[in-house]
């Protein structure tokens, strides 16, 4: 593609920030040593690795001793679920990684409302005497709805206290996958009130295949990958030193710019939303109007085939995701859109626009023009308009 690309899919992948890349580079070449090796240069690498973990942990109010570095959010989620044996509660709009991990346990799937919001009271009712884990993503990866995690944490805490009083020794924990929220929301673990948290470097301008699971002291994790005993025996395998150093830089930058960046993206997003709804009053915006990630605009054009719009946009250099049944996902309709009750004919006309570092006023304005043009072209082809 020679044309200038307008990238509107930051929820799928983000480019590694130059500062992140610069921080990583020495550890891919000169400082390549195995952190477990006994000689001085390797020990320096080990120290840098430990410092990076401390940096990461401190951004969300945790201790480096309580995080396990992994190869991404999917592995972290699997590690969390692998560590418990009892019943689990998840929501119907969780990421496939959570839904699939839950299937290995007795599980209850709780429904969400039309805006993708989980009612803590519904979670409370789903908790059984043998429930050991409740898992709710901080922000949904398709429509961007941000969950009332603090209130869900209260529900879990109340249940824990009840069990204590009743003399039950069945533990109960709250896990959140905060991968999509970390660049825009406060993910301080005590303020969220969670017991386990998954994070991912790839969504915050860090490298792919680098993630972590944080678990409170009280949680006893069980390794799913055994070997040389790295990460306190919880995740064996030679440390991804450069990746973790990149993660540290990325999360540091994210924490530093979070509030400002969220505001910037919210303005851009709201402006796009207004213009698109002006052009297409029948379009449907999904996700909670208020409690929604600032970078997210999930918009459906009823009776339009979103994949066709994607292809038109792609040929003008605009890259977006569809929320619909398309060839790329082998024709499966999104479970999230089904869960929020979107009609198939509406769901199939969905675009997921997610903004980020590569977005600015000029690109967003241009993108809106091109999206309007593409959707109009499809409407006129099918004779709807």
């Amino acid at each position: 593609m020679n044309k200038e690309v307008i990238y509107l899919d930051h929820a799928a992948a983000t480019p590694v920030d130059r500062k992140v890349l610069a921080a990583m580079q020495p550890f891919l070449s000169d400082a390549f040593y195995n952190p477990s090796a006994p000689y001085a240069p390797a020990i320096e690498v080990r120290k840098a690795y430990e410092r990076a973990k401390q940096t990461i942990a401190s951004t969300f109010g945790a201790s480096a001793d309580d995080i396990v570095m992994t190869a991404g959010a999917t592995e972290s989620i699997n590690l969390a679920f692998h560590s418990i044996s009892g019943h689990v509660v998840v929501t119907s709009i969780e990421h496939h990684a959570v839904l699939e991990a839950a299937k290995r346990h007795e599980h209850t799937v709780v429904e969400v409302d039309g805006k993708g919001m989980v009612d803590p009271e519904v979670v409370r009712r789903a908790i059984r005497d043998d429930t050991e884990l409740v898992s709710v993503a901080l922000a949904n990866n398709e429509i961007g709805t941000v969950q009332p995690l603090r209130a869900i944490a209260e529900v879990v805490k109340t249940e824990r206290e009840k069990r204590l009083q009743q003399g039950s020794d069945v533990p109960i924990y709250l896990h959140t996958d905060a991968s999509q929220g970390v660049g825009q929301l406060d993910v301080h673990v005590s303020r969220l009130g969670v017991d386990l948290m998954t994070l991912n470097a790839a969504k915050i301008y860090g490298p792919k295949q680098v993630g972590l699971l944080w678990a409170a002291h009280s949680v006893s994790l069980q390794p799913q990958i055994n070997g040389g005993g790295q990460e306190r025996g919880l995740r064996s395998g030679t440390e991804n030193v450069a990746g973790v150093i990149g993660f540290a830089k990325a999360i540091e930058l994210a924490a530093e710019h979070r509030v400002h960046e969220a505001e910037r993206l919210r303005k851009l997003r709201d402006d796009m939303q207004v213009k698109l709804l002006e052009a297409f009053p029948e379009a449907v915006v999904s996700g909670h109007p208020k409690h929604r990630l600032a970078s997210y605009l999930h918009i459906s054009f009823p009776s339009v085939d979103a994949e066709r719009v994607l292809f038109i946009l792609e040929s003008s250099g605009v890259l977006v995701a569809t929320g619909s049944a398309c060839a790329a996902n082998k024709g499966t309709r999104s479970h999230v859109l089904e869960a929020i009750g979107l009609e198939p004919s509406v769901a199939d006309g969905s675009l997921r626009i997610t903004l980020g570092h590569l977005s600015d006023e000029t690109t967003c304005r241009k993108a809106v023009e091109l999206i309007i043009e593409a959707v109009r072209r499809e409407y006129s082809r099918t004779g709807v308009l």
Partner: protein
Amino acid sequence: MSRVYVGMSGGVDSSLTAALLVEQGHEVTGVYMKNWTQDLPGMRCPWADDLADAKRVAVQLGIDFKVFDFEKEYRQKVVDYMINEYRAGRTPNPDIMCNQEVKFKLFLETAREDGAEFIATGHYAKTENGKLLQATDGVKDQTYFLYRVTKEALDKTLFPLGELEKSRVREMAEERGLYTAKKKDSQGICFVGQVGIREFLSQYVERTSGNIVDIKTREVLGRHDGAIFYTIGQRHGLDIGGGLPYYVVGKDMDTQEVFVTKNLNDEALWRRELQATSVHWIGGSLPSGSRVQVRLRHRGALVGAKVHSEGDNLRVMLDEPERAVSPGQSVVFYDDQECKGGAIVL
């Protein structure tokens, strides 16, 4: 101007086919036939990518696009047929069966029910008043695969690439900026792809080992892991070491013996006379004793022959002996540029 449904596979040929029909002023609908979606060991089935590419081109051309799901029928009519033929010790041609049963029957019928007046494909062939004619590009000509299509179907079929050289097709696709202009051509049988027929069959048939036997001396030269995997004329994969290569000249499915020879001139490898069955004539049968030209494999040379009817079957007397003719493969008859029909070798 007609309503034309064009089979779009996501390749360059059918992409240009659709583009040309649009330029000719037809009301064109692109159709992806979803025939096979299964991954095979060592090969990811690229159907979803191909479907996306077909749709991309349809969107580029601004035409409607549909998916016809023929997976069940394809499995029954093409894949099961192929497996059963191999089991019976024959060497079938699934592409011929796919054209007969799926592309020029099921697709045609489904398209017409949906409102199409004509169908079109990116085959290299020509039609004229229900006749099937060889393509201008003699190397790419695909009439060998099309001889079992009916006259009625050909009457409703357009082959816009019939007059074009393959190299020109790519150029024209590039000139039009079609997304698939530079895409590599698919290889081999569509769904078997790069894996090879041996690996494919291994998924479906039990392996029965047997002896490799010298047809002259009856000496057992080695073992094989299934007579089903061998075809007449085959030289490779016999795995019997040393000296000159051996060629498969025959097999016995009951005893699982595979007969071989070292002699390339062995009469068992060369056939001058063929019996053929399951005869299909496109525009009516030829009188017994007619002189024709025959082709025994895709891209094979045309050789002179005489065709005699023997009940429902045919006896084909070749002017020159032909090497390695396997039961199950097709003998296709030509009168100059016209493909008259064909039959399956017994």
